[in-house]
């Protein structure tokens, strides 16, 4: 073989080619920079100080508020006597109720609350600080959303950290933080409509804190400013978040089922088309009346309370109702864990031994039904007139509270239930203590366990549904308990 001459020939032939390839590689490395990798996402350095960053952050905070509200509403409704998780993968133990620190929902809710709070703080301290276009009204709104985070925390948890990895503080301190934020928001805002929200939120925070004087004062101020006040949480039907409560109330597979005596209020958030999401009225004038009425009852002013409840009823009856096609709801079938009554000839009793009443259950299979989408109640003017005692007044008031607030995530707090600090917080936060009292949820001793609050006996033949417990009656019976009825 002529290897050597071939080798030389090959070198001559291949050397230019190798040179070409090597040069190309060098040039291409310089030109195309295969190791030059740019993150397509925006870094915080690029964002802070960029034009309009404050407005974008404020909208992001609004979006986070909706996410947080979704989580609070869906889960706390289950933990109450309002709804039973008949089908979904949402909280599986809240219905019992069991509120454990290992529960993923407990973790998610406080994480979402913290995100809302931290977005408020980061926005106020950092993003707004570098954006000269931010107005005091923007600042007030961000304070309001941070206040709502603290309000959710103070209403629904035993205790929580008030800052990232911070010390764990009581719910009273959290409500105090909410009040401070709302107060500051109101003091800097020049927007009269937005200010009404801050006032209503203050009334709500003072109410839960048991500060009757301030609660009533703010409630009265709100009604003076706007007697039909309402503030909606608006969802995004296209990119989300959508109204989770709407989806679980309107699905075909009996997702969340209301206690039969609340059936006439369901679905509060109907499907209105693929491009519309039902809003949630998370602050509304009705609450101001309820606070004032409860204040009057705690002062033994039955007549004043009756008058206030009549005003409330007038407001409720003025609120919008909608005709809804709800035939898809498979009530009456073995679709979920429990079969629910499905026709308007069903009579309900609020507790065993109570009289059977009509008008609480709707026939959904026949055609459209009419449901209140902001506030509704079974309480009539006559029923209010019939009140003679403080306790009966409180009973009617709490029934109205329950019915008016159904689907808004308020009932769990009214029942005195509170979630614990999540296990993940205990493990990761150096300021948290394992085994501390706040690792246990709060379930007042008068709360029936083992699904008692959602229980009822349904006789499909006799068309009767008897609730196992009338929780409003139990609340009034335990009105002096530190867990409930904050003015008592």
């Amino acid at each position: 073989m002529r290897r050597n001459s071939f080798a030389r020939a090959s070198v001559r032939a291949v050397a230019p080619m190798l040179t070409l390839v090597a040069s190309s590689l060098l040039i291409s490395c310089g030109e195309f920079k295969p190791t030059d990798v740019v993150n397509p996402n925006v870094t915080d350095k690029a964002f802070i100080g960029s034009p309009g960053a404050g407005a974008v952050w404020l909208l992001g905070t609004q979006r986070q508020f909706v996410i947080t509200l979704n989580d609070v509403v869906v889960n706390t409704e289950l933990a109450s006597d309002n709804y039973f998780n008949n089908y979904t993968t949402f909280a599986q133990k809240f219905d019992v109720p069991v509120l454990e620190f290992i529960d993923p929902q407990v973790t998610t809710i406080q994480s979402d609350i913290a995100t809302l709070r931290e977005m408020g703080t980061f926005g106020l301290d950092t993003v707004f600080a570098h954006d000269s276009s931010v107005t005091p009204n923007n600042r007030a709104e961000l304070l309001f959303y941070r206040g709502m985070a603290n309000l959710f925390a103070g209403e629904n948890f035993v205790a929580l950290p008030a800052s990232a990895n911070g010390p764990i503080v009581t719910w009273q301190i959290l409500l105090g933080s909410a009040i401070a934020d709302f107060t500051q928001a109101r003091s800097i805002s020049t927007d009269p409509v937005a200010t009404q929200s801050y006032t209503m939120a203050l009334a709500r925070a003072y109410y839960r804190l048991g500060d009757k004087a301030n609660a009533v004062k703010e409630a009265t101020a709100l009604l003076a400013a706007n007697p039909t006040f309402i503030r909606n949480a608006v969802f995004d039907p296209i990119n989300g978040p959508s109204n989770t409560m709407q989806s679980v109330l309107t699905s075909s597979v009996n997702n969340f089922q209301p206690l039969p005596r609340l059936d006439f209020l369901d679905p509060k958030y109907p499907n209105r088309g693929p491009n519309i999401q039902s809003p949630i009225a998370f602050l509304k004038a009705e609450e101001a009346h309820l606070i004032i009425a409860e204040g009057l009852l705690s002062d033994n002013n039955v007549a004043g309370a009756k008058d206030r409840l009549q005003q409330l009823l007038t407001l409720v009856q003025s609120r919008k109702t909608e005709s809804v096609d709800d035939r898809i709801q498979l009530r009456g079938r073995a679709g979920g864990k429990i079969v629910y009554p499905n026709s308007s000839d069903t009579k309900v009793a609020f507790a065993p031994g109570d009289s059977l009443l009509s008008g609480y259950v709707l026939t959904r299979s026949a055609g459209n039904i009419v449901v209140p989408t902001i506030s509704g109640t079974s309480v009539t003017s006559a029923r209010i007139n019939a009140i003679t005692t403080v306790d009966d007044g409180l009973y009617v008031l709490y029934l109205m509270r329950q019915e008016i607030f159904i689907g808004e995530g308020r009932r769990m707090a009214d029942l005195g239930l509170r979630m614990p600090v999540a296990q993940t917080e205990i493990l990761a936060n150096p300021n948290a203590t394992a085994g501390a009292a706040y690792t246990q949820g709060q379930i007042p001793p008068f709360i029936p366990l083992a699904f008692g609050m959602d229980s009822f006996t349904y006789d499909a033949t006799a068309k009767t549904a008897v609730m196992a417990f009338d929780m409003n009656r139990i609340l009034v019976q335990n009105k002096t308990s530190p867990f409930v009825l904050p003015f008592e």
């Binding site: 032939a13 993150n39 996402n41 915080d44 913290a114 075909s252």
Partner: protein, 976 residues
């Protein structure tokens, strides 16, 4: 021939399939021809490589009859070397005369340990296995061609004795779980990186970030795997090296090992071709179905047909190989039709006598449907039927008890829903590789390789109003709820590497092989999702939809580094390997510089010691080799996980900003250091061979995506905080109890142990990587426990069945086995008939079954005994109240033995064939013919559980997923 005309021929050949025109002058040269056969049985050996004077540019292969022909050799003395995977090399001196043909018939001796095989992967350049201190598996083309497998991970399932490979569902193209040497990461998937002819290709074996979610949270049985569309035709061999010392030269990219596919580039000589048809059917494995009628409702015997054809040939200057394949499969599910199509070609051209160009292109495309499974909710046939959820839609869920009328109604419902369910996956991938080798002098070999891989996948879900009405999600008359969801992923990878290998001898006793090289790869992964709602039935596109929206995501990463390795062998008995790779990667944090990965290996060929031989003859102890190695391999973090970002979301048509990723400037690769040692033993002339090894690996700087305290309000951030340990023994055995003329029986077996444990979380609290919720069951990462162990409520019962206590967050089991392996047998009868079977097994793993739990929860008849009656009574007779408190009852051992294939292969004699036909064989195979499992369910319907793209798939859950089908395939292969 002039140089110019030769170049013209080369370039023409590069673009047109050459027809084998002879370019050499035959009159002044001679030839060598002969036949290669197996020494003990005499059967002809196909695909043996015959080299002239160890020149890698002069190589031919033996044909089906073992015949070869080497032409155009200069007269004089030559040495031909014959190599074949699984046989000892043989070198024969031969004298060639001008115009003459020397006949050299060669008999090769079986070598189950395969120590003579030359491997490339992990070495920088070709080097004999006998000089390598770490295990390498090589699978030859014959073995690949004979397998009934339709995808590479299925093929490797029983071919890699140290790996455990599981298909997570029986549906075409879905993901698998591949584990070798334990679980080295809790953040990265354990699938090895894959190269085709030196080009890194997409190895995504999880969901993509933007993709169909038909399985609900973290259940991945319906996700599509990139491994499913890797080529299986036209493959010359596959090399596999496990992670650790063997993959150190791959640096930050190879802690899970490397699979390298080498395609065929043609063999000089006569043009040969083949046509192959595979016809058969898939049938469901009904062994684990709870209801007899499930099979009738959603399964069928689905016809499978596949055809492939190819040609191969060339001359001394240019060789080529090309093939194409097409496969159509009805699938075991009704409406499960899927298709695949592929083209492969490779060519090689000698550039003078010292240089060579090799190029290859592979192309594959596939179409498959997807079915909702796992925790998808909504219409999910297996969940409705097998888990008792049919009651949610108004049916009696004891479907075997339904009256003929009710059953007809259910069947009509299911048939309609299955037909209207419209989820599809389309993939198209191609890889091209180009290598220029240049050996300026015999002792120096160089190469430069570059190539591209592109994989495009489109997943589409069309939900029509008709489907929603049929599945009772919306009332009849609904017209505005239809939707289309499209997800496209476009992955492109660019690889370039250069290498130099020097082989030198110092004196006659010392051989030194030194490799130097540099490698760069860059992956660009761009994904887009576009969805529309309020779509009119019948629409396949988004145009005209009431509302449409879109989003996208991109991942880019570049990794580049240099490596060097030297392999020093003294007296062919004492070998030492030293290697180092230094790497940079764009996914590292900005405070992190180049990373270095060292390795050292020692091999002692004790069996070659003269003093030993004076005591024990080769007939008794044919081989004894001791080896040990330590090496470090890395795994780089997810692209961009190092950056602190702000996230943006469209909110009511406007921009909104929120916290993005917290970021980490110190993010670096996790590093797995592996110490391994073992012995290769051959006894009684290799009648029995063993490979025994033990490894202990420690992954430091393990990447953990642990959740922070909820009070921070931030999402998880990948950080290098953990330490993970894996230890295991690896035993491989081959027995050839009978080997004589016309009869050979080969038995193989592999036994592996695995001890996997998280040693440290670096202060991070335990966190879940799989499963559902703390109140049901989760796969956890926790110090002192195996990765992904199952945690949930454990009820303690007394003798009456009453629950005495419930331990929350208790250890319930683990998805990784203590022991696993494979075994097989091959019987060659005569030179034509081969019977073979193989199987795999595992022991000591557990799984949680939602199928079983839900059957109980939803009150299926026959499940009364699942929970003791006394325990149920404690919960007021409410199954809904008790089932989550007794999670340990839904966890079982998933020991199994599964036979994968049973094959009968017969080579037809030429006299029965048309004149041109050669190498024709008929084979019949059954895939998944039989299995045994200790669990009440199919342990292999193991949801992969990877919760994010490229995340760890640990498994451990059985939940509404199709079992793999049993397939009967008749293969007819015609050569010409």
């Amino acid at each position: 021939m002039t140089r110019r005309s030769r170049w013209t021929a080369v370039f023409l050949s590069a673009f047109l399939i050459p027809l084998g025109a002879s370019l050499a002058n035959a009159q002044s040269t001679g030839a060598i021809a002969g036949r290669v056969s197996e020494a003990s049985t005499g059967r002809p050996l196909e695909s043996a490589q015959i080299f002239v004077n160890d020149d890698r540019n002069r190589v031919v292969r033996s044909d089906a009859k073992g015949q070869y022909h080497l032409a155009n050799l200069n007269p004089g003395s030559h040495t031909i070397t014959i190599r074949l995977i699984g046989f000892s090399n043989k070198s024969v001196p031969v004298t060639v005369t001008a115009g003459g043909t020397a006949t050299v018939n060669v008999q090769l001796v079986s070598q189950p340990l395969g120590l003579d095989a030359v491997v490339v992967t992990g070495q920088g350049a070709g080097i004999a296995k006998s000089r390598i201190a770490t295990p390498v598996d090589v699978i030859g083309s014959e073995e690949i061609a004979a397998s009934p497998a339709t995808r590479i991970d299925e093929l490797l399932q029983t071919k890699l004795p140290g790996a455990q490979i599981r298909m997570t569902s029986g549906d075409a193209g879905t993901t698998s779980i591949i584990r070798t040497r334990g679980v080295t990461s809790v953040s990265n998937n354990s699938t090895p990186v894959i190269y085709i002819d030196g080009v890194r290709v997409d190895n995504l074996n999880t969901i993509a970030t933007l993709g169909l979610n038909l399985s609900g949270v973290r259940s991945q049985g319906a996700a599509t795997s990139a491994l499913a569309d890797l080529p299986l035709d036209n493959i010359d061999r596959i090399e596999f090296v496990p992670g650790g010392a063997a993959t150190t030269l791959y640096g930050s990219d190879a802690a899970n090992g490397v699979i390298q596919i080498f395609t065929k580039h043609g063999v000089a000589g006569r043009t040969t071709g083949f046509f192959e048809s595979r016809v058969g059917f898939d049938t469901p494995q009904t062994q684990f179905l709870f209801f007899k009628r499930t099979s009738d409702l959603i399964y069928r015997n689905g016809l499978t047909q596949g055809y492939s054809a190819g040609i191969d040939g060339g001359n001394d200057a240019v060789t080529y190989s090309a093939s194409g394949n097409i496969r159509a499969n009805q699938g075991q599910r009704i409406d499960g039709d899927n298709r695949e199509f592929g083209l492969q070609n490779g060519m090689s051209a000698n550039l003078g006598q010292t240089a060579k160009y090799q190029g290859a292109l592979t192309y594959n495309q596939s179409d498959a449907p997807r079915f909702r499974n796992g925790n998808s909710g909504g219409y999910n046939a297996l969940w409705l039927l097998e888990d008792g959820r049919a009651s949610a839609l108004g049916f009696n869920n004891n479907i075997d008890d339904l009256s003929p009328t009710d059953y007809a109604a259910l069947k009509s419902f299911i048939t309609t829903a299955e037909a209207l369910q419209n989820n599809t996956v389309f993939t198209r991938s191609w890889t091209t590789s180009h290598t220029l080798s240049f050996d300026p002098i015999p002792s120096i070999k160089t190469h430069a390789t570059f190539g591209l891989n592109n994989r495009f996948s489109k997943e589409q879900s069309i939900v029509t109003n008709q489907f929603l009405i049929a599945t009772k999600s919306f009332p009849s008359g609904t017209t505005n709820q239809g939707s289309i969801s499209d997800y496209e992923r476009n992955y492109t990878s660019f690889t370039a590497d250069v290498g130099l290998q020097h082989t030198g001898n110092i004196g006659s006793n010392l051989s030194v092989i030194t490799s130097l090289g540099a490698q760069l790869f860059r992956n660009d992964d761009a994904q887009v999702q576009y969805t529309a709602t309020n779509v009119r039935d019948g629409a396949q596109t988004l145009a005209g939809a009431g509302v449409s929206s879109s989003t996208d995501v991109a991942y880019r990463v570049a990794n580049y580094g240099v490596f060097g390795q030297t392999n020093i062998s003294l007296l062919s008995r004492y070998t030492m390997e030293l290697g180092l790779r230094v790497d940079k990667n764009t996914a590292f944090g900005q405070n992190v510089g180049a990373q270095s990965y060292p390795k050292i290996g020692l091999v002692y060929a004790l069996g070659d010691e003269p003093w030993l031989r004076s005591h024990i003859s080769k007939d008794v102890l044919s081989e004894l080799r001791l080896r040990g190695a330590y090496g470090v391999a890395g795994q780089f973090p997810a692209p961009f996980a190092n950056d602190r970002t702000i996230a943006f979301n469209s909110f009511n048509t406007q921009q909104s900003a929120t916290f993005g990723q917290p970021g980490d400037l110190n993010l670096k690769p996790e590093r797995t250091g592996t110490l391994e040692y073992g012995a290769d033993v051959g006894l009684f002339r290799d009648i029995a061979t063993f490979s025994i090894g033990y490894y202990t690996s420690r992954t430091t700087d393990a990447l953990m995506n642990a959740p922070p305290a909820p009070s921070t309000g931030l999402g998880s951030q990948l950080r290098n905080v953990g330490v993970i340990s894996n230890k295991g023994a690896e035993l491989r055995m081959t027995l050839v109890p009978i080997s004589r003329q016309g009869l050979r029986l080969t038995l193989t077996g592999a036994y592996n142990t695995l001890d996997n444990k998280v040693l440290s979380l670096g202060g991070v609290p335990p966190f879940a990587i799989s499963g559902y919720s703390a109140s049901t069951v989760q796969g956890m990462v926790q110090e002192g426990y195996p990765v992904g162990y199952l945690r949930g409520n454990k009820a303690i019962f007394d003798s009456t069945g009453k629950i005495t206590s419930i331990q929350q967050l208790a250890y319930l089991g683990k998805p990784t086995p203590d022991k696993f392996g494979s075994f097989g047998a091959t019987l060659d009868l005569g030179s034509r008939l081969t019977l073979s079977t193989n199987a795999d097994y595992q022991y000591g793993a557990q799984q949680q079954s939602f199928d079983r739990a839900f059957r109980y929860l939803y009150g299926i008849k026959g499940t009364e005994g699942y929970v003791p009656a006394a325990a149920l009574a404690q919960y007021g007779g409410s199954r809904g109240a008790v089932w989550q408190n007794v999670m340990n009852l839904w966890v079982e051992n998933t020991n199994y033995v599964a036979f994968r294939t049973l094959t009968v292969d017969y080579k037809l004699g030429d006299r029965f064939l048309p004149r041109l036909a050669k190498n024709t064989r008929v084979s019949f195979s059954v895939t998944n013919p039989w299995r045994w499992a200790s669990s009440h369910w199919d342990p292999e319907t193991d949801l992969s559980t990877a919760s994010n793209q490229g995340g760890l798939a640990i498994g451990g859950y059985n939940y509404a997923t199709d079992s793999a089908p049993r397939s009967y395939i008749l293969t007819l292969h015609f050569g010409f």
